[in-house]
Amino acid sequence: MTNNKVVLVTRPDDDSTLNFLYHWTEDIITFAEKRGFTLLDLSGAKSNKKYLESYISKNNPGLILFNGHGTKDSILGYDEETIVKLHINDNVLINRIVYARSCESGKELGREGKAKAFIGYEWNFIFYYNQNNVSHPKKDKLAKRFLEPSNLVSTTLLKHKTVNEADTRSKKLMLKYYFEMMSSNGTYEEQKVASFLWSNIAGQRLYGNPEAHI
């Protein structure tokens, strides 16, 4: 049995894409701590394979939230180190619920991996941002349209809802934002990049038991 009061988060920060994910994950961490979860925060250089395997082995988290680059069969950590790879060390995911905010990892690691349930992306996870906000990721209103719905996957899971609900709520918010961005109320910038939000909606996949929850 996993410990459903323990949540593990990875969030490397060694490029500007990861820096956005790093800062947007802070809301999830605050949310989890307020709800009394024990939070294992593998931030920055601590997002490596050694720490990941050690923390999982010692604390047995029920939920793992990955942020980072990915490939179809792996998730990367700091300095692009492969921290989970299908058929190599994917046993670290056994019986756990996983959300991987990383490109393509849903394709094989999600589909064929050992997680109890896995939400990830078949395609690249995409977001747009204003170049002027690189040092202030949380202030970027355009990035918010892309990253807030993905945060909703995590916060829904932290409310003990099922992975199916987490997936559905997130897609619902993406659709809401898509239509807002495309409407006359959307800014010019929003209207021009809204189609890429559709790519995240179409690419987000759920594997494993849809009724699983922590």
Partner: protein, 90 residues
């Protein structure tokens, strides 16, 4: 006029190439409308709009993915799939 198999294949190949070129031009045109103060985070990199357009034109790995995503979007938009999804989620 009758064509032999070899000639038919040649004609089809030419048609496919023209089709692919038109699609690339369409995606580049869509990207060119995006304000230049924005950047896109995709995969392990960040791209300016000019870089995205170059990647589509050169048919790099990222360029091919952008083309696939945009074509999927346009198909889903034209087929009513996007509106259907919206209705389903209400």
């Amino acid at each position: 006029m009758k064509y032999n198999v070899k000639q038919k294949l040649k004609i089809n190949k030419k048609r496919d190439k023209n089709y692919e070129k038109q699609i690339r031009e369409l995606v580049v045109a869509r990207l060119s409308a995006i304000p230049r103060n924005l950047q896109m985070a995709v995969g392990a990199k960040q791209y300016t709009i000019e870089e995205l357009m170059e990647n589509v034109e050169s048919q790099s790995s990222v360029g091919k993915q952008i083309i696939a995503m945009q074509m999927q979007y346009l198909k889903d938009l034209a087929s009513g799939e996007i509106n259907r999804k919206f209705d389903d989620k209400q």
